[in-house]
Symmetry: C2
Subunit: 294 residues, 2 copies
Amino acid sequence: MAWRYALTIEPVASDDARTDFGDTFSVIDPVAPALSVGELSTQRGDGVFESIGVIDGHAQEVSAHLDRLARSAQLCDLPVPHEGQWRQAIAAAAAACDPGESVIKLILSRGVEHGPAPTAWVTVASATDFADARTRGIRVVTLDRGFDSAAAARAPWLLLGAKTLSYAVNMAAIREAKRRGADDALFVSSDGVVLEAPTASVILRIDGVFVTPAPTGLILHGTTQLSAFQWLASRGFDTEYRDVAAAELQRADAAWLVSSVRLAAPITAIDAMPLTNDVELTAALNAYLLSPRD
Amino acid sequence: MAWRYALTIEPVASDDARTDFGDTFSVIDPVAPALSVGELSTQRGDGVFESIGVIDGHAQEVSAHLDRLARSAQLCDLPVPHEGQWRQAIAAAAAACDPGESVIKLILSRGVEHGPAPTAWVTVASATDFADARTRGIRVVTLDRGFDSAAAARAPWLLLGAKTLSYAVNMAAIREAKRRGADDALFVSSDGVVLEAPTASVILRIDGVFVTPAPTGLILHGTTQLSAFQWLASRGFDTEYRDVAAAELQRADAAWLVSSVRLAAPITAIDAMPLTNDVELTAALNAYLLSPRD
């Protein structure tokens, strides 16, 4: 992975009538100092983000990512992002991408402590090569996320449906999974409900139906999961959003973690339980996810 | 609040035999760009921190803060901080403080993504004036922290005993408390055990005994709470670490939130329940907390 490009943004009000926001952008050196130590993103993980996959300069699922960025900002009491401004920033970033796969990150921070306004920036990096994960698959272990499945409804300040910068627990869960000899984690609520992975959504095939946990505020609504369900439906497969009990994992014959950059990674084992790697279906799904889409 | 000073640190191995680490420090402009957009502190809230109170250039409770920084680093699989290096950095920061009250922050980040090493820095800012909170007190509301009291023991990847940079939920809880007309929040576990405030420890006076939740990994061990208990014990008061059920809050006749910069803030109400503001005791406690100590 290498940093390719970065752009800082002065966020404008969501109802700003301009159509060109070029004078609110500053292209910066992505490896040079750019943020002050007073940044609340750094001090408090206080901000929201999105990671967008880019294929040969085409940013994928931009609308779904911007919708989620707006939802995250609302949950965090941050100003509503101006869709046109962020679209223009994404276009500038996509134009700076090399051929092949890249990742654009959008970051909206609460800004400098006691500062006047939120800060925002967009970065471009070349993507890690995930060919192995996409074909040979990944092993996952289930890890307790600590909270129960009713937590989001009764305690919105837990920000469970927001993609915040406070990802220390997500990163610790991946380290724990690796310590256990796996590649990734699958979070389960304390009352045994399947949630999501630290940086991905889960799709399970149970009795021939592709199932994913309903995004009811407890988990993020995965943009790649949305795309995968559209593709599966278009191919005549049954898809379903519903609560999935951890005990039901035993009934899955195949499963995937899906995310914007790694795309669809077939799960070959959950804890000690092996799963089928449906090589053909996964290859077709990843071919679709690698095609230019919005 | 104003930024006064900042110092970046190249962390050395914890067993480095040097006694002078001056050449690992770089004094920087605290409001100028200093961190790259690739910083994992910013992207993932992935790092640990401490906030140290400074009185007339004297940094308080340095050993307790460095102990906790080391514990946090260990829980997050970060390299053990070199105590001597951090002490020297704190001394340099303290020397840059104005008379009166300041705050030194220590930050140890996992570093730049895919970068070679952790990054670290120390900042100095003048402290907010908390005279009102210390004398007239604060109103708090209890908020559910989402997890149960057994979560830390069974799921160490939740990092509950580590002071990480992932504080978005802590900040959201304070905003929620303010929306409810209070000044601060008091977290309670989903199974009704009193925990801590988003940026402070709680001390309750119940039947004449000063009680605080035992720091068993579920909460941070408050450095100011430690100092307050030492002072209370030296004055002949009974102190006790134990589990406190939320229902027991009704039995408290006085309570405080204690933290390194605001110091002891008497709680005048928990939810709808008024509490005594023991003005004399609080003044004596804050006088002690404002005296030079380590």
